[in-house]
Subunit: 695 residues, 2 copies
């Protein structure tokens, strides 16, 4: 039973429970799932007393391994949807004790093979015991190369000591992310190796936590010790924990409750940790029970005027369940039920996703090739989508208004006709915005709508006719770079920007159009700047890597970034200004940037760079997607992603030095990029061999 659907969400979230070994799996599931309310159980598959080395020496034996049950005790779909295999936690493949090491390897391989035989969706691997994990990783890597679709969740405690004064020579674990990082690098970033985070009672800093949202975290195991107790004796979480769990929900991370119940309910007077925030939780539980009761048993509420404690309410629920299903008679409430209820409450309490986010859900972390609107003609569907971005055109309209007012004083509004050229008019949205600006400001306008795509020109003609703009708008079917204009323009309006600003060749196009702009003419936009920031993005990295070639690693992608960690504030890269009156007209650019990752973050993995732009349309009117200044509710652009062929780990105290080039050839424009610190990478996309934009 999922935690419930939130309004507007297509996806549900699930909550599992970690159990002890119990060799009657059907009963274990009945207790935890059918009766207990959890969605799945993380259950040991093998008797924890088993040791291969002891087996061999014992009686010849039947050769039957001490697994819990046989594959027949559950249906295949029950196995795969309700059971996550928990690998024996005693295994220690990096022990000094060779026998233990060999036993561990044998057991690990037997258990995973069994889980694979059962078609489980995942196995939970115990956390590495020390700071060294090479032999464990070697064995897991061997398994990963042979396993079916099963995921291996490596359990990692959510630990990071921020104490810099700590003795670094001591072998104690300082940052569990480092452990994970070693493990996954040894396993060559295998896409079926993911993480189950053990959430403990104290949490690392926000920056440090943030790193995990760029990693493939599949489950968060919350120990009952991490819960506080609210005034009514219910388990609840600290605000920081709540925020973290909410983020997990946002990132499709499944929750698993683990440990013994440590909240002795009911406890009317208990006030171990009064947590104002959760006073609502009690009411919520009450309401839930009322809802439940209201449906299944009329009149129940009357009998219970007094305020329910959660435990009481749930007891009634269990009672009702046992009434309605005689087979469940005598089933007691699951001891971890109140933890599950609290997690469900946190989930349902979340704010619904805004409409735009909901629309973009399907695009999250999905790599798209950037458009090449200069080389290729856009399709009607593409125009359709982008024309709906009202916010964008409102910004344009505001910019055009200001430009018109600056260009023509109020007193001369009726005398002067401003020549405005929309270069790259598409199906006309900027023509409309210009006309609306003229109307708003009372300025007279003559518009040329220049468009190179003959298919869009068809639509433009019918639009002009339909709207009765024939006297004002002249349609020109031509590439702006080669058009022989009959007169010069006061204002040049264009929307040629890509996610990285200049990546759809706005500079080259506007340099061409500049010929027919008056010496004191205005370009809207008047300038634009690209930005980058280093990110952890293991999902994107693996998607790029899956193509097994260099070309995909040297391509920039348009992507709705979600499962990423942004490691440092973005920095500007290339700026272009229009009109460009400088003597050096080159649109080649070279920029060296240095990023300093906050030291409290700890070491981090850089899989590549997120790219953005910000455009100054006119004076203070801007438009952009750079996160700190992004125009709200605009959906025309996702970010761009520049991958690194070899992801790089940046340790605290060392900085990341990045080089970006914009290179121009006779027929194409391309970017090259590399890093030189902490250690040099190769230069990516040399000569634009993999990715380029055609002129």
């Amino acid at each position: 039973m999922p935690l419930g659907e939130r309004s507007g969400h297509k996806e549900s979230r699930y909550c599992g429970v970690e159990t002890e070994f119990y060799d009657d799996i059907p009963q274990l599931l009945a207790y935890n799932i059918s009766s207990g309310g959890f969605d799945f159980a993380v259950a040991p598959l093998m008797d924890p007393a088993y040791r291969p080395s002891l087996m061999e020496k014992g009686t010849g034996g039947s050769g039957v391994l001490p697994f819990a049950g046989s594959d027949l005790v559950l249906s295949p779909s029950q196995w795969s949807s309700h059971v996550v295999g928990k690998i024996s936690s005693w295994i220690d493949l990096d022990s000094e004790d060779e026998i233990l090491r060999m036993d561990s390897e044998t057991t690990l391989k037997q258990e995973v093979a069994w889980a694979s035989h059962l078609s489980l969706q995942a196995c939970l691997l115990p956390a590495p015991k020390g700071t060294s994990c090479a032999n464990y990783a070697r064995c897991v890597n061997q398994i990963l190369l042979g396993v079916n679709n099963m995921q291996l969740w490596l359990r990692i405690p959510l630990l990071k000591t921020d104490d810099d004064s700590m003795d670094i020579n001591s072998n104690s674990l300082v940052d569990s992310w480092e452990l994970w990082n070693s493990f996954r690098m040894l396993c060559e970033h295998h896409s079926q190796l993911s993480i189950a985070l053990d959430v403990l009672s104290s949490l690392p800093s926000a920056n440090s936590l943030g790193r995990w949202f760029g990693e493939s975290v599949r489950a968060a195991i919350i120990d009952t010790d991490s819960f506080l107790t609210n005034a009514r004796g219910y388990p609840c979480l600290s605000k920081r924990h709540q925020k973290l769990i909410t983020e997990f929900f946002n990132h499709s991370v499944q929750i698993v409750i683990s440990g013994k119940p440590v909240h002795g309910l009911p406890k009317g007077s208990a006030d171990l940790a009064a947590n104002n925030n959760d006073s609502n939780f009690d009411d919520w539980v009450l309401q839930k029970v009322k809802d439940c009761v209201g449906i299944s048993c009329e009149g129940f509420e009357e009998e219970n005027k007094a305020l329910f404690t959660a435990i009481e309410a749930s007891h009634y629920k269990d009672k009702l369940a046992s009434f309605s299903n005689p087979a469940n008679k005598g089933v007691h409430r699951h001891p971890l039920r109140s933890y599950l209820d609290y997690v469900g409450y946190l989930y349902q309490r979340m704010d619904p996703l805004p409409e735009q986010e909901r629309f973009e859900l399907g695009y999250r972390d999905f790599l798209q090739s950037p458009l090449q609107p200069l080389m290729d003609n856009l399709e009607a569907q593409t125009y359709e989508t982008f024309e709906k971005d009202a916010v964008k055109y409102i910004q344009y309209q505001r910019a055009i208004c200001k430009a018109l007012q600056d260009r023509v004083p109020d007193g001369k509004a009726l005398m002067i006709t401003t020549v405005l050229m929309v270069v790259g008019a598409g199906r006309g949205p900027l023509v409309r915005a210009s006309l609306q600006a003229a109307e708003e400001t009372g300025r007279k306008l003559k518009i040329y709508a220049v468009e190179k795509n003959p298919n869009a020109v068809v639509t433009l003609h019918s639009l002009v006719k339909l709207e009765g703009w024939e006297n004002i708008v002249t349609i020109v079917s031509s590439d702006m770079r080669y058009w022989d204009a009959p007169e010069k323009a006061d204002i040049l309006v264009s929307e040629l920007l890509g996610s990285f600003g200049d990546n759809e060749l706005s500079p080259e196009c506007l340099d061409g159009a500049q010929r027919f702009l008056k010496d004191d003419g205005i370009s809207i936009p008047s300038s634009y700047t690209s930005f980058i920031q280093p990110i952890t993005a293991s999902k994107l990295y693996n998607d790029v890597k899956s193509h097994k070639d260099v070309v995909h690693f040297e391509t920039a992608y348009v992507v709705k970034l979600h499962n990423v960690a942004r490691l440092a504030p973005s920095q500007p890269v290339f700026t272009f200004t229009h009109p460009n009156r400088s003597t050096n007209k080159s649109n080649q650019r070279y920029m060296k940037l240095q990023f300093d990752i906050p030291s409290e973050t700890g070491s981090s993995m850089v899989h590549g760079f997120a790219g953005y732009f910000d455009a100054k349309l006119y004076k203070d009117i801007h438009l952009g997607i750079e996160p700190t200044t992004a125009t709200p509710n605009m959906f025309s652009w996702f970010s761009i992603f520049f991958p690194l062929r070899t992801p790089v780990v940046v340790h605290p105290g060392s900085s990341l030095e990045v080089h970006f080039w914009r290179c121009c050839g006779p027929a194409k424009v391309w970017y090259e990029w590399c890093i030189t610190s902490p250690s040099p990478s190769s230069i990516q996309n040399s000569n634009g061999r993999s990715y380029w934009v055609g002129l």
Copy 2:
């Protein structure tokens, strides 16, 4: 004219000269080569006053670039064999000055294109100006992707400051190897990017210098300032410089003399730096001149009883040359001639290569797949080669002698017959060694010669017949692992070792044969250990990389290591002892090793690991190829090389942690390896997917 052939060398070494810009290339060559005696000239191709940005602004111009001459002034073979193109040394692609940067890029590309047009073999790129070289590398990388077979020699000053107290915040260059390393990493280890080392008057430590012998150094440019002056006023080099130049000769590095003549010769009384070592040089010069004169002009010697100084002698030579070629009349001795003569002297003075080394010249740095003698049957030619290794069989004979004497006291020599089994007898060399040992010690022997290769058994039979060994030797055509022996052996003799000891499955074979060894029986060898050490090996790395697949990076190769730098002493990896009476019979192994590279070495690149073995045949008689204990004059084994998919840079103070596994499956044995420090690599050859030895 090469520096001369040394006895026994097939290759010659060449010496070039660096020149100034001179636009009459034929005359430049006549002066430096035909007359001056150098083999080639490193000559600027373009007028150093040229700047593209000035050209454009100047008169419209003819569009002719200011190159030295046209392609027609020399024949194609003259261009390619006598001229190395020297790229304008003013270029600075990482300057803060954008105009200079753009001019530099344009010029560099024009010059390389011209050199390419002329089919030059190499161009000399000026050293990067500062510590930052990303833009220079980006531009060179673009060139490398498009260039023909031409090599680009990046000039690197041979500099390393050992002063640890130096302010690391200052931007001064501390270790020029780091600069090279950044540059080549940015250029993705391109095989046509190589090094021209600028040898200066002071040299870094031996360890630091050693790194360069694992890199692709093509030329050493020796500045005249680096020379000392001997008692007679000749230029000479310090002993450390001499040693370095000799090493360059050994590694096929060409020498280039550069700079102004600073040794004012002749200088009979000069004794700036009396250099005992080179008292021979004067005599050598005299002899050379005598030889030369003796051939070309009888009676010349009579006229010149006095001791020649080099300059005088050479003057005569020049005179003779001008006599024999009237066109050369008036040609003067080249001002750098005495430096060239000294370099020639150093070359010819070198010890001739030992015969074995000469035989192995063709194998240097050539990757071979290891034999699989268990899975495949060896060919006659292979037996033929290995049987010639007298030293190896002498060691075996010594070991067998000792074992026989220990087994049978002198007094019982005639009474007791020792049963000796040669397992893997091949064509019989160990049978012969055993019989010789029996004869030497007066012990009685019964020999079983067990061999699985039926083709070798044919030879064995004819050998036994030929030698009349029928009464002593029983030939068994069987795999030792499955042979049902009629009696048990006192001594088991085998030669199943590969370059890495156990890599030809000696452990598995001997474990099988152990069944028919008496409880107190002896195995020769009684144990063996493999060793590894980290090496720089850019040539091997590039050869592996050229296959463009993972398989080749996960394969171990047999190779005669030459162009490598050994970065730390080797360490033992796996040991096997025979007979193996332990209860744990597993031949799986796991070893974690930590290498500390001497801090005075500086940062170094680890391309992989050299592997060796040492075997204890019996008691103190050993056999092996581990460099510090290697058995002299044995040629049966080259080293083994384990590559790293991603070479790793180790900085001073951080250590290299390496993991090696020997894994055993039902049908194969394989190694996996990885590093975990300074940063984790992936685990190579997981599951033996790329490289394995068949059982």
